[in-house]
Symmetry: C2
Subunit: 417 residues, 2 copies
């Protein structure tokens, strides 16, 4: 009897914002049912609803209790799934809503940012025996005490992927308001091309750079459990982008995309003592406050002193500077400077693992446009450059053109094998 084919489809807030849009979702779900599949549909709160609820909370308390925030915020998805289940039933589908505490989407107790520990797949499968469609509330779970939890912003993506993994679903589709994952941001580069496929690792780099198509954690989850995820648009029939494990064909593609992130601030500490423990004196307190430090560069030591440069998110800059002031004497720093007029641009591709020359081509392209590189860092599949932010758009377009990303990989002139 376990020949049940299961499709998981996740729809974001814009896809469920209002009756007309939900009818479009119903169309997609019905089509899947007509193919003979059981459908687990994961819904977000209607666009704007989560913000409305969190705004309420901030009126009620300057520092709202996280567990209560979750009890509050989970109502958004609860409304979506109840309404959608009504719609399904009217359309003749056997459907019901399912909340995070009903299937037991068990999470950690980290309210507002919980992680999924376990999903009771047996209960879900039993429900699927009796139903065509289960409308599962995304973003939410419950902890060991039965309290409601949420998975952090964009958490419904993770709900979708986790459900697909737990149910060993045939397909996991994440529906959103864009056509898929693009080679770069179409808003600043009109030659940006939708990718048919992208690897988990590339997607992680794209996502962390602000290509906000999928929540990072959902991609990590998909990678861990090897769940192929199709990102596609609710409002068209374009097949979107398949995010999946790297395979041979991907390795032949040198560069997959160009990402950028303007939310960057650079901090330089001059003449720090170059001795053990100094780095942890600097970055320990910053990490404790939950501030993410990105690129870190340390110059070669001179006279027992060195310069240290790193980047943080712009919103964290003032807090970071205050923390540095507090340790300034201990680390023997002469001067601390900061700069918010910077931007990070990255060239991403798993093909780099097997090909050299990508970095030098990128640097040469930037030089041709007189764009000065302020900081550099490279990983196996990424080259990141910090530049003045006024050059951000130019840099993205230049790199996009250099690596011929507007063309299908097979049609590119150079750099491919």
């Amino acid at each position: 009897m376990n020949t049940m084919k299961i499709t998981v489809q996740k729809f974001g807030g814009t896809s469920v914002a209002g009756l007309e849009r939900m009818k479009r979702v119903l169309e997609i779900v019905s089509r899947e049912c007509a193919r003979g599949n059981k459908v687990v549909i994961v819904l977000s709160a209607m666009a704007g609803e989560t913000n409305r609820l969190l705004d309420l909370a901030s009126q009620w308390s300057s520092d709202p209790d996280p567990a209560e925030l979750d009890a509050l915020a989970t109502t958004g998805e609860q409304v979506s799934v109840a309404l959608f289940a009504m719609l399904c039933k009217d359309a003749g589908l056997k459907a019901r809503s399912v909340l995070g505490h009903q299937v037991q989407i068990r999470t950690t107790c980290d309210y507002t940012n919980a992680r999924i520990l376990d999903i009771d797949a047996n209960t879900l499968r039993a429900m699927l025996n009796d139903h065509d469609v289960l409308a599962v509330a995304g973003f939410q779970g419950c902890d060991e005490h039965g309290r409601l939890t949420t998975l952090g912003r964009g958490g419904s993506d993770t709900s979708g992927v986790a459900l697909a993994a737990a149910l060993n679903a045939e397909t996991c589709e994440i529906y959103t308001d864009v056509e898929g994952v693009f080679t770069t941001d179409p808003n600043i580069c009109d030659k940006a091309r939708k990718l048919d496929r992208i690897s988990y690792d590339e997607m992680l780099e794209m996502a962390s750079m602000g290509a906000k198509v999928l929540q990072i954690r959902s991609v990590e989850f998909a990678k861990k459990y090897n769940v192929p995820v199709r990102v596609r648009s609710t409002f068209s029939d374009n097949p979107g982008t398949l995010v999946s494990q790297e395979d041979k064909s991907m390795e032949y593609v040198l560069v997959s995309g160009i990402a950028y992130d303007k939310d960057q601030a650079r901090v330089t500490i001059y003449d720090v003592l170059d001795q053990p423990g100094v780095a942890s004196s600097i970055f320990g307190p910053i990490a404790e406050k939950g501030i993410l430090v990105d690129m870190i560069i340390q110059n070669t030591s001179r006279d027992g002193h060195t310069d240290m440069t790193f980047t943080v998110s712009r919103k964290d800059l003032q807090k970071t500077l205050a923390l540095l002031e507090a340790v300034r004497q201990d680390i023997g720093a002469k001067e601390i400077q900061s700069d918010t007029g910077v931007c990070k641009v990255s060239v991403i591709g798993v093909g780099m693992r097997n090909h050299s020359g990508v970095a030098s081509r990128a640097f040469a392209a930037m030089a041709r446009e007189n764009i000065n590189l302020l900081m550099l860092s490279t990983s196996e599949i990424k080259i990141t450059m910090l530049i003045e932010d006024k050059y951000a758009e130019l840099a993205v377009r230049t790199l996009h053109e250099e690596f011929e990303l507007d063309k299908q990989p097979g049609e590119r002139k150079v750099g491919e094998v």
Copy 2:
């Protein structure tokens, strides 16, 4: 260790509509905590919220699935308790929100109109060991399958009373936007007086007549478990009205209040066959459709035929007439007439059990004002008269004056022992 004193306080939608009003609730709760009591506070959805949600549902479906309606509607109370718990914590109280599925307020599966079967008092008591205040979502529970249920309109009153019964609470207070239970509707009789006490039975009669202070079921529940309930205003310190078991002192009060109900329609069926089975042919189909029939009168038979008169709620009149048309031939009825210009007025008092003469005084008072009695029915503690609805206000004031309800029972001239 079981010397814990527990107070249950229930606040309705107008009492939690907005931050300022919730602060007033916090004041009341804090005062109770300062007395050393543990407080279980039961909250309704903010005024208007339940209607907003049900309006959404009716846009989504002409006949929404009841289980999904409940999944939808329960979010209203969930928002209230989460926000209120935040407020409590900011005020330094140890507080948390509690949902119907978390304490296991177990109900029947009758979605939108479920009945409480059981409350897990042990879990609640364990929570109270660690908290000053538990903010429990009213109106909701969950069934044996873990699905959310609601208790019907005004169900939060029942939640409050049921929790007080389960916890053997010292006090059960129902806070609302009126000062308590009045001898009659103050809107049509400016001499209406707030009652200090009223018996469960009297309250049931008052409530069913549209004195909408407490949900009827909550009064039944209070009576069954003998929970004294204090009805009082959130917005004043008036001690309100105590609804409790009848005692000796109440029996000396002849009449406690005058109720009226304008939502009445009268139906008369002429020349029905007077034979066994006819009454069930008439009222069977009506009951099956969930229509409540109130007063029923059958005249003495003539020539094997009789007339039958009864009242229903005005909204049910058309449905009732259609059902009667369907059985008209079977019951041999000559004619069916209906009339919506009628009103029910009742004189209520447990003292009637031991005193005669109340009915004749009531009839005489009506006659003095030339108010014709269309139908009559009496019970142990109630005399009900159907009159033309244009006389409704006059009848209420006349009866109120006749029984001197504006005066304290001890100060009344006549009819008291």
